[in-house]
């Protein structure tokens, strides 16, 4: 039996419980002289009863689904033939898997040997038992707890309070899930990175100026002989992000100011959605736009400039060298991509500045631009900074555009006309293809991930600090 009918049963039990609870609340209210003599409104009693019907059943169901496989497995293990019990852990797992497959009818007993017949039969029996018992168990628990819930529908019991508390717990659990997931990811990344730093010293990783992980997987060389200096990647990431922000911040901010302060309602209704469409374009589209249009255009301009420089004896121009994949191309396109992050958020916060502040400024004879510069902009600054930092972390994390337009060459340079690469791009290239899980090359991806995480974390902390500082000043 699949879970769907069971879930349906629980939901209908919940609905029925609501109804019964509601009627019951009215019934006990009647002899007392009306609903106002109950400790809570009838809907609260109804919610309470329906939660009683839902939650215990749901918990049992979840526990069963989670533990069922493990319990069956340990029971089956007991019926394995003697020699199988001394197998190493990974082989034993394989055998147990095969037993399960055969029990499901997906294989023949001959792949295991007849001595496994007992185990297979046991597996079949237990699975069947579990299937039959689950609906019975969940159903009876739901009904019993519904009855318990109904019993506490009394005039004195404050159901509103119970519902409120349960609601609280539910909210708390949801936030726990978010936090635990994050913590889990961080820990697993940290663990793998720690393994990486067993192979490559931390100082080499942080201060090395050379990045070429490929060498490390050659069989005749030991793991640590590749170079894992992260500096070129960091510089590349920062260079591209800086170019992107250099474009996105002024354009985004000024268009937000135009939209919220100057544009008529008609213009605003057209331009704002149009800007937000930019955020909906898939990054891979931006990527080939960068690689096929922008990068060649930059290169052509560069070549023309070089030719002109050579003719007119301008030495630095004559030596100009524009590679066909450049940080400039990737950064520019990425800047366009993140404009909506800056503009949309800034627009919202600028609109949130109260009209009375504008009035105050106009009333003193300030022009519109003076009002924007001196009153609206400072008041909206925390939100604007937030938008910019969001855009920055977006830029740092962006991969696709860089893969396509900036290349894979880990050059340590701040020249925007050369090919560079970024942390995220390297993570991708490290993990593409078949990998050994414990090679330094694969583990390096985790170390890079951790590094990236620390950078964005630091960025966020700085952002919060900045925002808080201005909050204190302006509110």
């Amino acid at each position: 039996m699949s879970l769907a009918p069971l879930a349906l049963f629980l939901i209908s039990a919940t609905a029925v419980a609501y109804f019964i609870g509601y009627l019951r609340a009215f019934k006990i209210a009647k002899p007392l002289g009306g609903v106002r003599n109950l400790a809570a409104l009838p809907t609260y009693y109804a919610s309470m009863v329906s939660l009683w019907a839902l939650i215990p059943g749901l918990i049992v169901l979840a526990l069963w689904v989670a533990l069922d496989g493990a319990v069956i497995e340990s029971l089956v293990k007991a019926s394995l033939p003697e020699e199988a019990k001394y197998l190493p852990a990974d082989k034993l797992g394989l055998v147990l898997n095969q037993v399960a497959l055969v029990a499901q009818g997906l294989g023949d007993i001959s792949i295991l040997g007849l001595e496994y017949q007992a185990a297979v039969e046991r597996q079949m029996r237990l699975t069947q038992l579990s299937r039959d018992a689950l609906p019975l168990l969940v159903g009876s628990i739901a009904i019993i707890s519904l009855l318990i819930g109904l019993r506490s529908v009394t005039a004195a019991h404050n159901a509103r309070y119970s519902v409120e508390r349960l609601f609280n717990i539910a909210l708390f659990l949801c936030s726990c899930i978010a936090i635990l997931t994050t913590v889990g990811i961080v820990f697993s990344v940290m663990f793998e990175s720690w393994q990486f730093f067993q192979l490559v010293p931390l100082s080499e990783f942080l201060f090395g100026t050379h990045w070429s992980p490929q060498i490390a997987i050659r069989a005749d060389q030991a793991g640590a002989s590749g170079s894992f200096g992260v500096l070129p990647l960091i510089v590349g990431t920062l260079l591209i992000s800086a170019i992107a922000l250099l474009i996105a911040v002024p354009v985004g901010l000024l268009s937000a100011i135009y939209l919220s302060e100057y544009a008529s309602a008609r213009v605003r209704n057209v331009v704002k959605p149009a800007l937000e469409i930019l955020a909906g374009v898939p990054t891979v589209v931006y990527g080939f736009f960068a690689a096929l249009t922008v990068a060649p255009a930059i290169r052509e301009v560069g070549d023309a400039a070089r030719a002109w420089g050579a003719e007119n004896g301008v030495v630095w121009l004559a030596n100009l060298n524009v590679s066909s994949e450049s940080a400039l191309a990737a950064g520019m396109v990425m800047g366009i991509m993140i404009i909506p992050f800056v503009s949309s958020l800034s627009d919202d916060v600028i609109n949130a500045v109260p009209q009375s502040l504008r009035d105050g400024s106009y009333g003193l004879g300030a022009t519109q631009s003076e009002t924007i510069k001196k009153v609206i902009f400072p008041a909206a600054l925390p939100g604007i900074v937030g938008g910019i930092l969001l855009a920055a972390s977006r830029a740092i994390g962006e991969t696709m555009i860089v893969v396509m337009a900036a290349g894979l060459a880990a050059n340590l340079t701040v020249n925007p006309l050369e090919a560079v690469t970024t942390v995220t791009v390297q993570i991708v290239t490290l993990l593409v293809g078949d990998q050994e899980f414990d090679s330094a090359k694969t583990l390096a991806a985790f170390a890079l991930g951790l590094f990236l995480f620390l950078i964005t974390l630091a960025l966020n902390i700085v952002a919060l600090r900045v925002v808080k500082k201005y909050r204190e000043q302006y509110e």
């Binding site: 502040l357 009035d359 400024s361 106009y362 004879g365 001196k374």
Partner: protein
């Protein structure tokens, strides 16, 4: 068509500072002010009284074109400052508002320091040449509003940390720092205790030596204390304008009498 309402009393003056003829204000299709004729005398204090929602603030905002900032608001009629039409689309509203300053009904200090709030107008209009002059101006304006003693040690703290009454006085200080010719005050004492009110009334008195002042107030005692003339508004119409003493002792119009004796509003 309904008969045009005729204001009783003396709405018109010889050689006024501001002249309003036939002014009507509409919020979208709803008319809020009906055909007001009124002259505002030079270096006089005129108070506007009337029940809540009768259009006092709306009328006041016509006088420095603050209604421009409300999209749905439309002002018709002739409004003049020193004989110059101010309802003309072409005039420089920024200059107009520097000459006709305003203190709003709700205190709206900028989210800046106390000092910066007062210095704001002076900086924009280049009224001072150096820091010393600016410091002097700020101190002087705060003194006149009776705020100096309370804030002199915290000039560089945020103005939003002041109490409601202090904020209101700060807004007055901010307005007079620009040195306008006409000051429009929309209930400047609504959040003030009697002592601060007395300070502001003294200030109004002092300012009226050189400035023209329009003040909206709900306190008839205040109107009686500070103003030479009083205008009574009712449902968007200007009912009666007379010398303050006359309005409060011997009103001509029945509605005025009902209001000041407490039967309306």
């Amino acid at each position: 068509m309904t008969e045009r309402f005729q204001t009783v009393g003396n709405p018109l003056l010889e050689d006024p500072k501001m002249r309003v003829r036939n002014a009507s204000v509409f919020y979208a299709d709803k008319q809020a002010i009906f055909d007001v004729d009124l002259d505002i005398g030079k270096n006089q204090v005129i108070s506007m009284i009337g029940p809540s929602g009768c259009g006092k603030s709306t009328f006041l905002r016509c006088l420095n074109r603050m209604n421009d900032t409300i999209d749905i608001c439309r002002v018709e009629g002739q409004l003049e400052l020193d004989g110059q039409d101010i309802n003309d689309r072409k005039i420089d509203v920024v200059e107009l508002r520097a000459r006709v300053g305003m203190v709003f009904q709700k205190p709206n200090p900028f989210p800046k320091s106390i000092y910066e709030n007062v210095a704001y107008g002076a900086r924009i209009h280049g009224l001072t040449d150096n820091k010393v002059q600016l410091d002097d101006l700020v101190e002087q304006c705060l003194q006149r509003c009776g705020l100096w003693k309370e804030v002199k040690d915290r000039l560089h703290e945020p103005a939003t940390g002041l109490s409601g009454g202090q904020q209101q006085r700060l807004c007055i200080a901010r307005a007079i720092a620009v040195n306008p010719e006409v000051i429009l005050m929309d209930e400047p004492c609504s959040a003030l205790d009697p002592i601060a009110t007395a300070t502001v009334e003294e200030l109004i008195h002092e300012l009226s030596q050189n400035f023209t002042i329009c003040i909206v107030t709900h306190s008839m005692q205040q109107a009686a204390r500070v103003s030479e003339r009083t205008a009574y508004f009712h449902l968007g119409k200007l009912i009666e304008v007379n010398d303050t003493s006359k309005v409060f002792t011997n009103p001509e119009h029945q509605l005025t009498e009902e209001y000041i004796t407490g039967r309306i509003g």
